[in-house]
Amino acid sequence: MATGFATKRLSKELSKIHGNLPPGITLVSAEGFQEWLLDIQVLDSNPLYMNQTYRLKFKFSPSYPIEPPEVTFVSSPDRPIPMHPHIYSNGIICLDLLGQQGWSPVQNVESVCMSLQSMLTGNTKNERPEGDANFVANNRRRPRDIDFYYHDNTV
């Protein structure tokens, strides 16, 4: 496999991740450099997210980190999709950081996880985004393409 700059950069991130991750973030799997899974937990006593673990899926393009990774929550029996006014029930996250506009190459997997942790920590509303059902039923676009339309959303 040719090693483009994405692979090089991700291999560096991976070695760092294996060394130490901030509390509440764990690497689940990193098979190759296209897709990684990480688990995050909200550590403070926010009643919405207490004692829950959420699974994140990162998908990297060969242009990472120039282009943002595609980050979504994935659900499984013991990994629900967190309740948040900017997280759709299919796991798609509405966060400017992950859009073409808000992304910066200095961000990394760890910093994205931490941003999401803090996005959950600061939330008090037990609700989904407006039009969630409709969106979930109809959306076929990749998250990176959706972000294109609502980048100016402030979280």
């Binding site: 950069r9 291999s11 070695s15 294996h18 130490n20 073409q100 969106f135 109809n138 339309y149």
Partner: protein, 435 residues
């Protein structure tokens, strides 16, 4: 590191965290400061932006080409305004040179009482055989004194002298610039020595063959990024050919290739030791394999979206290429309302009527959330859920083999729609989120 999916020796990845396990953890911060935030590697040809952030030349040029903003602070900047950060470059080179030594020293067993002038030499044993990058816990244990021999002078002092490595090549350093050369050559060299140190790591070693010639490589001219919109295909092809690089592929690929070439080229111009053109071509070849024309298919699929958004997009060719897929979609779309009408007489007539016009209209039918949201508007979902009463449509001779997963052209066809802003069904659902 046990969970690393890659064999450790496939990627030798020195990282700033290597210091954390040593008695010198504070060096982790030092090393982190010498690494580029974009590639996480040591700075290669560091450039400073207008906002005074430093990145590798290639990293910042790629970033600026992508969105014209500083990766660190998101302030707008231009490639023209980048300046070399020589101090950083020297710092990085010096640190890189010192790193293995210092790390090796830091991971060696230490006994506080030894005078700093003395160095322990571990006699050949399982621990002392190699200076280790990653220290294991066992490396820390104090070895029995019988295994430790303290030396007073000789070779051990070299760790403490500034010129740490004195290659035994029979050469002497120039007293002015420290470049190494034969004794005879020094005299001739001193006359025109400008005091500039030999180009750091490569120069010092490679110069042994031809020491007297202080090669002042003429820096190549930087290339401008062309305005692609005003550039005809033929002109662009000529530009590529002039640079000696491939002019194959679509217009969009050619543009991306030329942009990458300009980026590589200009970053090379910044370098203290510019590479040759053939080496740059190898770099471009790597790009071609990872992101360009020979990249994996999944990447191509992603690219299709932006290609269609492009105003130079050749819609006709696209329509022809995907004609079959579109027709199949149209056929599917027609059947669906028909089937609906037969089961429930709800008003699906208009949709059927619309569907005859062409691919985009037919696709819109599939994509329309208000009329179809309850009935699996997605082509892919449809295939799965159609198993019941509607299976028969896929057994018709007109669309054989349509029961399996969709052929890729069809997926491309639908992704056409996905990215077409004009008919974006989800826009309304997203809008409420905007402040």
């Amino acid at each position: 590191m046990n969970a690393n999916p890659l064999p450790d020796d496939a990627f030798e990845i020195p990282d700033s965290t290597d210091w954390l396990a040593t008695p010198l953890p504070s060096l982790a911060a030092v090393e982190a400061a010498l690494r580029c935030q974009v590639c996480k590697d040591f700075y290669t040809t560091p450039m400073i932006t207008s906002c005074s952030h430093t990145f590798c030349s290639l990293c910042i040029r790629r970033s600026l080409t992508h969105d014209g903003k500083c990766p660190a602070c998101r302030a707008g900047d231009q490639e023209m305004k980048l300046r070399q950060n020589w101090a950083m470059e020297e710092l990085v080179e010096a640190f890189k040179k010192a790193r293995p030594e210092v790390l090796g020293f830091a991971t060696r067993p230490v006994e506080r009482s030894t005078s700093p002038k003395r160095k322990r030499v571990v006699e050949e044993g399982e621990d002392g055989s190699t200076p280790r990058r990653k220290r294991t816990r066992s490396g820390r244990r104090i070895l029995p004194s019988s295994q430790i021999v303290a030396l007073d002078s000789d070779g051990d002092d070299e760790d403490y002298t500034p010129e740490e490595e004195e290659p035994k090549d029979g050469l002497v350093p120039c007293p002015i610039c420290q470049e190494r050369m034969t004794v005879q050559a020094v005299e001739a060299h001193i006359d025109h020595c400008d005091g500039e140190p030999p180009s750091k790591k490569k120069g010092a070693r490679n110069s042994t063959q031809n020491p007297t010639i202080h090669k002042a490589i003429k820096r190549p001219e930087r290339l401008p990024h062309p305005h692609y919109s005003g550039l005809k295909d033929a002109a662009l092809r000529k530009k590529l050919a002039d640079q000696g690089i491939s002019s194959s592929g679509s217009r969009q690929l050619m543009e991306r290739r030329y942009t990458e070439w300009v980026t590589l080229w200009n970053a090379n111009c910044d370098s203290k030791n510019p590479k040759g053109k053939s080496e740059l071509r190898r770099d471009l070849d790597l790009w071609e394999r990872t992101q360009g024309g020979r990249a994996v298919v999944s990447w191509k699929e992603q690219e299709i979206g932006s290609q269609i958004r492009d105003k130079d997009f050749d819609g006709k060719a696209w329509a022809e290429k995907n004609d079959e897929a579109f027709k199949q979609l149209i056929a599917n779309a027609r059947r669906k309302p028909a089937a609906k009408a037969s089961s429930s007489s709800s008003g699906s007539g208009p949709i059927q009527g619309e569907a005859v016009d062409g691919p985009s209209v037919a696709l819109r039918t599939l994509d329309r959330p208000d009329t179809e949201s309850n009935e699996q508007p997605r082509a892919t979902t449809s295939l799965v859920t159609y198993k019941g009463s509607q299976t028969r449509f896929f057994q018709e001779p007109s669309s054989p083999g349509h029961t399996g997963p969709l052929p890729s052209p069809q997926r491309q066809g639908t992704s056409t729609l996905d990215k077409d802003t004009a008919i974006n069904p989800d826009r309304t659902t997203i809008k409420p989120l905007e402040p």
